[in-house]
Symmetry: C2
Subunit: 397 residues, 2 copies
């Protein structure tokens, strides 16, 4: 566990705050500030336009993609960083439906992050070819994977409850009927081991501002299975995905491999900061992350349940079935979360009644978990939010 | 002109460099480094997730949009910053063709930036409804605006030659036949006065890393005419364009006005840097910028032509017909540009034979222009790139 103690030192965590919301926005890695400064003052300033080559800005999207690839079981050269997760979802679904032109269903579930559903729906409406975005309960996904399905699009770890879909089983089921499988790893990348190659997932997307600590608005990423990428015609066919961006041809020709999933000019400063943030994962085994994550979440559940009878566990009880977060339902969940935040314990709330706590082994400690559990029990026992003098902070988004 | 002398002091320009490539990447504003640091160390670090509200990160896209709006003649609340220019082009064309379902032509010209053509082509291929991206010579655009045209999509200032399209005349022509007009302001915003409202342009897009000095990979922007925005169904329907992003509804409902053109989580650090960069425009009249720009480019043309007979002006000779750049054709243009760069004078080269020089009144001076003109004439007179000991630098992208 000394590994994790030294990792915590790499983050600039504010005094007196117990941060259990890294699944919304990871904290500031100390190295990020200096790296951002350097990118501006030592690269952009003196190098000007030549920074694209001299400082290798142009290589950032692929290099960062490969760094993330090592955390999600993707081979080198199959992951590209850029844009936002929503845009990457669009690329994924657009590619998939075009590869299965005779099928009209994109299957998802109502545990998916809404933006994924919105982006898919927006695309299918644009196409106007009679596609249906079929949204079922998470438990009903497998039974709805039929030969009419072009693509199954799921978020691996549910953003509200932490429930994990069985990536291998569902991917196999999709493949058995000839459908393509798209995984959103927003709450998986950096949080638990993922084996994209082993599961033969077709396309995966994710963001980098949660467990990867890339900062507010850090870019998204997309992975496409190497033996599939040559069949992908990029719907978002931007110049940096062109085979020869600086030839300035009038006609688009998709670039080699995953490079075709690049679109416009990459956000260099934001990517440099992400690059520094990823250093915190150097030399860490995702299996150790997972073991520690389970230790933390098990401790939280048992201490909360021992000290408080009014909450209901909204996450799967089996640690193997949940990601690196724990959610409790409580009818006054919003108010209770405000009271926690007023005490410096930051989790978040998701309507209608879910209190959500994220655990990140890189910086969260068992002591923090116990502190948060005790505070939650005390707040609920006393109805602290109703006591005179309590002042709620503005809702955390 | 003292206005401009003080503006130059706001930029961190490297000693000994004459930078005439701000039309590719604007230089580092001194305030940007501190603003980037502050966003990380004083906001992200201590505020963590609460920065979205406390530091008003969530308001950045609209607030920056309004700041840019003042430079391009767009009313407040009609411009939104985000994503990349390529993505904004996609949003523009997707919106336009859907608003003109019975028309099958998107008209553009071969002077447009290739990525605009690629993005439109990629979209039309996805739609698969028989649309044609019709690409004609710039001079032939007006004659090709017919009642079959859904949208005319043009870059206002040609990236190679600086030739300006007549925004008012072409927009009027498009409207006369019921077509929508999309302008790309990549080489216009911050370079010359633009009057979107006066021209009744339907949609405009642009980038912020050229004349707006937002830094490598700074975000794009999109403007939609206020009386048109309610008709726009966003093709890229991301959660932050939703009417209530944090309600986490399963169904998409477009947000109020231009907010519906938001897609995913905005790149906060990059936007904060852009915010600092835009300060350089505070209190500057775009008409003064234009007058100074013409002074600089006229000086360059006359001094180069007086000292060198081997180059051919590729830009319009009438200053009212060109943007804030001057291009010369020269058969050894690539080599000559390398020789200029070796002397610390940075312009760029566009195939097959164009040497391109951008002039930015905020920091370029008449002395710099004369220095560059004299050097260019000398290099061409002596064939400096062929002389022993000359070592070309790597091509500037």
């Amino acid at each position: 566990m000394s590994t994790f103690r030294s990792r915590r030192d790499q983050f600039d965590l504010p005094e007196g705050i117990t941060y259990l919301d890294g699944n919304s926005l990871g904290p500031l890695p100390k190295a990020a500030v200096e790296r951002g400064r350097r990118t501006m003052a030592d690269e952009w300033g003196p190098m000007l336009i030549t920074g694209w080559n001299k400082a290798k800005w142009m290589e950032l999207p692929g290099r960062l993609g490969d760094r993330i690839g090592t955390l999600i079981g993707a081979p080198a050269g199959s992951t590209m960083v850029g844009d936002t997760l929503s845009i990457k979802v669009y690329q994924a679904v657009a590619s998939a439906v075009e590869m299965r032109p005779d099928r009209k269903i994109v299957l998802s579930d109502n545990g998916n992050f809404p933006s994924d559903l919105y982006m898919a729906d927006g695309l299918l409406k644009s196409l106007g070819k009679g596609h249906e975005l079929k949204v079922v309960d998470p438990e009903a996904v497998a039974d709805n994977i039929t030969e009419e399905v072009a693509a199954v699009m799921l978020t691996h770890v549910d953003y509200r409850t932490g429930r994990i879909h069985d990536m291998k089983a569902i991917t196999d089921k999709a493949h058995a009927v000839g459908a393509l499988m798209i995984w959103d790893l927003a709450h998986s990348a950096g949080a638990l081991p993922v084996d994209l190659a082993g599961c033969k997932a077709d396309i995966a997307v994710g963001c980098t501002y949660k467990y990867l600590n890339g900062g507010p608005g850090a870019p998204g990423f997309i992975h496409v299975r190497p033996d599939l990428i040559d069949q992908v015609r990029p719907a978002l066919s931007g110049w940096l995905g062109h085979q020869a961006p600086f030839a300035f041809d009038l006609d688009y020709r998709p670039g080699e491999g995953i490079s075709r999933m690049r679109v416009g000019t990459p956000p260099v400063i934001q990517m440099a900061v992400l690059d520094a943030a990823l250093d915190a994962f150097d030399g860490v085994d995702m299996n150790d992350i997972r073991a520690r994550s389970i230790e933390l979440s098990e401790r939280f559940i048992s201490e909360v349940e021992a000290g408080c009878k009014d909450v209901e566990l909204a996450s799967p009880r089996d640690p193997n079935g949940r990601g690196s977060q724990v959610s409790f339902r409580f009818h006054e969940g919003y108010a209770a979360m405000q009271a926690l935040i007023a005490r410096g314990i930051i989790g978040d709330f998701r309507a209608p009644d879910i209190m959500r706590f994220g655990f990140c082994p890189l910086y969260n400690t068992p002591d923090e978990v116990s502190h948060a559990a005790a505070a939650l029990c005390e707040i609920i026992a006393t109805g602290e939010w109703d006591r005179p003098g309590f002042k709620a902070r503005k809702a955390v988004t």
